[in-house]
């Protein structure tokens, strides 16, 4: 399938990175729904975080005003993005940093690989970063003989488990404590300090095992790779928000720091952080403030890395920006509140979405980054209940965007095939019938024949093909005995 690209702007290329699933969502979701352990893990974790978020958001008297300001600041960034990017580049460069530009994942991976080689390193420590997950940086580094150690606890669990992340904030949300203990015992010794043999499944003991396992790597690392939560255009300041201190270790101890950042992660002014440093932690981990936030501006002599490289990544973001009805997805600050409230995500988990960006935001972001043809099932991975919009700290109207993207999927399919799909055929005949009052009345009367198909439950549970596509997953109601028009005509 090909879709006419928006204004000719290229989307994220296939074959590199993690934005596309191997299977369409309904198929992957069916498998996930059969995993009772997964559903228990998810229900417990999302239930916990929902309650925490609600409590700390509830105590902020000006939450609505902060949310409105957050959305407005991000819209301001998107409208003037070229100017802000140039301003950021000037500031970072003036403060001793080096700025690189990457059109897509392949180019970003190549730039980072060469920077690591230039630094003379064959291993790097990594701070959890969605952008580097998106572009498949670890795989690219491995192919170049460079070992990348994930240092966030959840990323470590995922990496040691030869697994993939399933949540933006807590990539190992699909694992419970007993599974994590087993992974640590089995895998840690293969790549470094083994876990203690008497390791229990208490979260405290598991965190301690991670601390010991990574300590030496932190103290000796020459190169770190991070993402960025925010970059301030007017000052060149970068910010990373975290909890464990692994971010501080990576951002402070190595000689060389490479930060990979999507071009949309800017804010115009230093002052704007006063909004986002309130919105993000409360929406994300449900805390008043996350334990650690690090901010740096270029190179600080005698303090932290003495070489700093910033890689600015497009990879489908400009294509997303080009759709006026879809671009607000680029406001996203990756808090993951929408995942935690989504009834679909809570049941299927993140892997079913096939992209590093799962859940409601993933359903609108992934298809735009790749072009809707490559993630055509994701805009349908939603009940349109609206819970995601309610909790979004930057007020992205995800339900409305999903409907818009569904229309783009339909357009893309129509553009591809000369033979109408069953859905198109049904819609075309409906249009024909609805076009004329006489035809519509006749069609309504004819539909009463459908009542003959209903059994004792007065539901249509199995229609013949092609309508079986509908009744495969839902019942259709029986047509009424009398249409509204008939009733009206007789009163």
């Amino acid at each position: 399938m090909t879709e006419p690209v928006f204004l000719g702007l290229p989307t994220a290329p296939p074959g590199v990175g993690h934005l596309r699933g191997r299977r369409p969502f309904p198929e992957a979701a069916r498998t996930a729904l059969g995993d009772a352990q997964l559903r228990r893990n998810l229900a417990k974790a999302t239930g916990t975080i929902r309650a925490k978020r609600a409590a700390v958001v509830g105590e902020v008297p000006d939450w609505a005003e902060l949310r409105a300001a957050g959305a407005a600041i991000k819209d301001q960034v998107l409208a003037g993005l070229d100017g802000y990017l140039v301003q950021l580049e000037e500031q970072v460069t003036a403060r001793g940093g080096v700025v690189h530009w990457a059109r897509d994942a392949t180019e970003a991976n190549r730039i980072v690989t060469e920077l690591v080689r230039d630094a003379g390193a064959d291993e790097v420590v990594k701070v959890k970063s969605m952008a580097t997950q998106e572009i498949g940086l670890n795989e690219a580094l491995a192919a170049a003989g460079i070992a990348a150690w994930e240092t966030d606890l959840a990323e470590l669990i995922v990496q040691l488990g030869h697994d993939s992340p399933s949540h933006i904030l807590v990539p190992a949300i699909h694992r419970n404590r007993a599974e994590i203990r087993d992974i640590f015992l089995r895998e840690m010794g293969k790549v470094g300090l083994p876990a203690p043999a008497d390791l229990t499944d208490q979260p405290r003991a598991l965190a301690e095992a991670a601390r010991l396992h990574l300590r030496r790597k932190f103290l000796e690392a020459g190169v770190a790779i991070s993402g960025a939560n925010f970059a301030v255009a007017e000052t060149g300041t970068l910010a990373v928000v975290e909890s464990e201190g692994n971010g501080r270790m990576c951002l402070t101890l190595p000689r060389t720091l490479v930060t990979v950042m999507g071009i949309e992660k800017l804010v115009p002014t230093w002052r704007d952080l006063e909004v986002f440093l309130q919105l993000l932690p409360r929406s994300s981990t449900g805390e008043r403030m996350n334990p650690y936030t690090s901010m740096w501006t270029g190179v600080h002599p005698g303090d932290g890395p003495q070489a700093f490289h910033l890689v600015l990544l497009d990879n489908g973001r400009t294509a997303t920006l080009a759709d006026p009805q879809g671009r607000a997805a680029l406001r996203c600050i990756r808090c993951s509140a929408c995942l935690n409230v989504c009834p679909v995500y809570e049941r299927t988990g993140g892997h079913a979405y096939g992209s590093v960006y799962p859940g409601p935001i993933g359903a609108v972001l992934s298809p735009q980054l790749t072009g809707v043809a490559d993630n055509a099932s994701l805009p349908y991975a939603s009940t349109l209940c609206g819970a995601c919009y309610d909790v979004c700290p930057v007020a992205i109207d995800i339900p409305q965007m999903l409907v818009h993207l569904r229309s783009r999927v339909v357009d893309a399919k129509r553009g591809h095939s000369r033979v109408p799909s069953p859905e198109q055929a049904v819609m075309a005949s409906a249009a024909f019938a609805m076009d004329s009052p006489a035809r519509w009345t006749a069609a309504l009367r004819a539909s009463r024949l459908g009542r003959l198909l209903g059994g004792r439950r007065h539901r249509l549970t199995a229609l013949p093909p092609p309508l079986s596509a509908w009744t495969g997953t839902r019942d259709a109601p029986l047509p009424p005995r009398q249409s509204f028009r008939d009733w009206w005509a007789r009163r």
Partner: protein, 226 residues
């Protein structure tokens, strides 16, 4: 690779057709020179919004810090040295890193049992890892969120100093405490490296249950001076 060295990934001065020019051109095509959106309305509580002060403010800070399971001691500017000694003694800390400007210059020991280790020449990560703790001041503290901000100013040292030792003792004075995040942002200088600290190192990565103590200092103790 250096910026612009191959004309595809560089910064200023790269050849036309390089990544920088192409990404910027794509952005301009995508935004299409539409009307600029209005400047954001800042109807939230900005830095000049009236907020609590005095003892109420300090109590709010203490309440939030306790919530993060930080250890707290109340003291006064006159008594702070004794409180520091008490905290370090109770902790059993014998060798403690101290940045310039937190204690009188040239002081090598606090009590006979507590050795003070300066950072000049800079301590290596391994040396820092071998210390029992670190004593610092701070730039700003935010009461509503229980956050202490270090910006490498006097008495705070470089970032690694307050990171690697497993015990961090911070002195906060009343004048450094503000109520809200916007008030803190207004006081801070973005050209300085900053670390915002809200409680000890923690993780919620296992079943979204918060556990204190991963890679950063596992014990944060705060002396709040009136």
């Amino acid at each position: 690779m250096r910026a612009g060295a191959d004309g595809t990934s560089g910064g200023h001065g790269e050849a036309p057709g390089g990544a920088r020019e192409e990404v910027l051109a794509r952005v301009r095509t995508a935004t299409g020179g539409g009307p600029a959106p209005p400047p954001p309305a800042r109807e939230y509580r900005t830095a000049d919004h009236p907020a609590v002060g005095g003892e109420e403010l300090l109590e709010l800070l203490v309440d939030r810090l306790v919530d993060y399971r930080a250890l707290i001691r109340r003291s006064t500017t006159a008594m702070v040295a004794a409180t520091v000694v008490a905290a370090l003694t109770e902790r059993g800390a014998r060798r403690v890193a101290v940045p310039d400007g937190i204690l009188p210059a040239g002081l090598e020991r606090l009590e006979p049992g507590i050795e003070l280790v300066g950072d000049d020449p800079p301590l290596s990560p391994a040396q820092l890892d071998g210390l029992d703790g670190v004593l610092t001041g701070c730039a700003v503290a935010i009461a509503e969120t229980g956050t202490i901000v270090l910006d490498a100013g006097p008495g705070q040292g470089r970032r690694a100093l307050s990171l690697v030792p497993d015990y961090h003792l911070v002195v906060v004075t009343a004048a450094q405490v503000v109520a809200t995040v916007p008030q803190a942002v207004a006081r801070l200088d973005p050209s300085r490296p900053q670390t915002w600290i809200s409680g000890p190192s923690a993780t919620s990565d296992i079943e979204l249950d918060r556990v204190e103590g991963v890679h950063g200092p596992r014990t944060l103790e705060v002396i709040v001076c009136s």
